[in-house]
Amino acid sequence: MPAVQLRNISKSYGNLRALDSISFDVRRGEIFGLIGPDGAGKTTLFRILTTLLLADNGEAAVDGLDVVKDYRAIRNRIGYMPGKFSLYPDLTVEENLKFFATVFHTTVEANYDLVREIYQQIEPFRKRRAGKLSGGMKQKLALSCALIHKPSILFLDEPTTGVDPVSRKEFWGILRHLKEQGITILVSTPYMDEATRCDRIALIREGKLLQIDTPRRMTEQFTESLWGVRSNRMYPLLTDLRAYPEVKTCFTFGEFHHITVKADFAEEKLERYLQERGHREIMLRTLVPTIEDYYMQIAQTDTL
């Protein structure tokens, strides 16, 4: 039995179709990533699966239980960390944790092993009110509170948004350890580089499921010939590359611009062309596509 099952789930808010017939399974014990920008429908999906919102159409089951009929049972088995900070700001760190344990008829001591790694980092501030914590510490407390009743499935809605790269890396390390203890994790993120840390990912955009697979198999589906180009003048380079007939797409990508090219593309010819346009220190290399390249290939820009 999969940990999570969705069959043709749809949800609209007025004219806005937030989710459009979404179907997929999350396997037991995997880290499953929902990857997509703001407005993709990630939060709506989380709220339906955590029994906080009713879908207009379709069926969904969590831990084999129906999200409508069995909502009470589901709530005891899942942990949910919403995107917005949702602990009690007037309670201290330690009071919040104790409160969540009590609500689920357990104690902090009974399940301390599960949260130890995370909670130890905020323990020096256990007497501080939750509202006075920094962003990173709030995130750790929220995760501790979502875990304290030993859920079998964890729902994390954008836990790393706005978090710096070091804390993000740390956080993914923690998720790995939770997975090793048998917890299934459904996590959403707008950061494409985090996709590779998941066992499987679903790319979603404007309520539609674009693709679902392992990160590796997904990038293998990138069919274009991908090159990286740089020179001493990166901004004019963009315009010049886009004007070049054999270049299909050209995007900035940090140190190099990424281009996809037509079949008759010749490296030396492009280099000569760029030299004629006044570029120096030109570097051209073939690239292995990332999830971000793939996402941009299949997604269009925002449209009204």
Partner: protein, 247 residues
């Protein structure tokens, strides 16, 4: 060095016995894209608030757009632009009304506002959306519009606080192209981001650790200095040294 649009010397801010910003000294030149990086709690926001004229430093010197940060904070506010992911535009106003409002606040004449509105709508390809409520725009459009509004009054410098968080990859890139254009026109861009690929788009980067600037150079020079394959690696090496946990 080109004319310094930001200049600081041993700038420091203490809250009680906590030193949020600890003797930072740097200059940013006209038309430069300057990346201001650091982990959460490193002191970026405090430093940025001082540079925007919103907070007085405890000690040290500094000027922004030629104005003194102690005595001329009101002048500073008039000559800078600011945009963050959290606050940018008024959702309940139409596209053109937002421009009218910001132009008015910065003391532009009705004619100037009218002309500038047309230019920006055309540049962004938003001409058909002038009467659309901002809340109806997709996030990526909002962010692009917000950036254009933040430099509506042609400030000398614009401060961008994590402008692209959560934005889809394609729009994120279009946004950076707008930044390039502004810098080409001579507007200095001071930007914070948690996307390390975006750090590469900056001419120079500073990385703050525990209130101090621990590294400051071009991305290429920093990669070389730290023998790192990319900026992510440079950042990880530096930020992991942080000892303070509070932010």
């Amino acid at each position: 060095m080109r004319e310094a649009v930001i200049y600081t010397e041993k700038l420091t801010k203490r809250f009680g016995d906590f030193t949020a910003v600890d003797h930072i000294s740097f200059e940013v030149g006209a038309g430069e894209i300057f990346g201001f990086l650091g982990a959460n709690g490193a002191g970026k926001t405090t430093a940025m608030r001082i540079l925007c004229g919103l907070s007085r430093p405890t000690s040290g010197k500094g000027t922004v757009a030629g104005f003194d940060i102690y005595r001329q904070s009101e002048e500073i506010k008039k000559h800078i632009g600011y945009m963050s992911q959290k606050f940018s535009l008024y959702e309940d106003l139409k596209v053109w009304e937002n421009m009218r409002l910001f132009g008015g606040i910065y003391g532009m004449s009705s004619r100037q506002i009218g002309e500038k509105t047309e230019t920006i709508l055309k540049e962004l390809g938003f001409a058909d959306e002038r009467n659309t409520m901002v809340r109806k725009l997709p996030l990526g459009w909002k962010q692009k519009l917000a950036f254009s509004v933040s430099i509506f009054h042609e400030p000398k410098i614009v401060f961008l606080d994590e402008p692209t968080g959560g934005v889809d990859p394609v729009t994120r890139r279009q946004f950076w192209e707008l930044i390039y254009q502004a810098a080409n026109r001579g507007i200095t861009v001071f930007v914070t981001t948690h996307y390390m690929d975006e750090a590469e788009y900056c001419g120079r980067i500073s990385i703050m650790v525990d209130g101090r600037i621990e590294a400051l150079d071009s991305p290429a020079a920093l990669r070389q200095q730290f023998r790192a394959a990319n900026m992510e690696d440079v950042f990880q090496q530096l930020a992991r040294k942080a000892v303070r946990k509070v932010d």
